[in-house]
Amino acid sequence: EDKVVQSPLSLVVHEGDTVTLNCSYEVTNFRSLLWYKQEKKAPTFLFMLTSSGIEKKSGRLSSILDKKELFSILNITATQTGDSAIYLCAVIAGANSKLTFGKGITLSVRP
């Protein structure tokens, strides 16, 4: 059974801090890893990672994948209160390309 484990499950930081969110996985026939941000309703897409060692970057957010050690990190620098959300990691794997999510990380950024 495919597994995606995120850590920590929750954290509280202050504005301006830098945070690192972790995602590890155990799957058969890995295809890609995705990060989503979820605020009030539907998850919104952040990054898709397919190759090891290539950083994806968008503003203050960046992410990288390590296919040898089977994990990914999502970094957020200079956090803002608007970064408060649930961050979801998902893996596409297997012949059926199933999309399996971790439990999510709840990030709270205090003013």
């Binding site: 898709m48 059926n96 999309l99 999510f101 439990k103 999510g104």
Partner: protein, 113 residues
Amino acid sequence: IAGITQAPTSQILAAGRRMTLRCTQDMRHNAMYWYRQDLGLGLRLIHYSNTAGTTGKGEVPDGYSVSRANTDDFPLTLASAVPSQTSVYFCASRDQDRGEEAFFGQGTRLTVV
């Protein structure tokens, strides 16, 4: 507007009743998914479909059924609702061939009483 639409947005349902949650996408995506989201448990896959005419079971399929008669529609049916099926349900779709990310509907909040 292109995208993925779910209906209803919310529903209160008596236990034992049958309910179908609707999901329609107009992006011609071949893969579609149904998830339920519960506090502390994240998004758990109920059923999925890789192409019209085929479906597969996810992590928590019991009590749910799906069909994929065409590319656009992927309804989720609760044959006889129970209170443990109270949850927020998300439908998603993606273009598997192009290796794109999954797009989500806005969710259906279902309460079974």
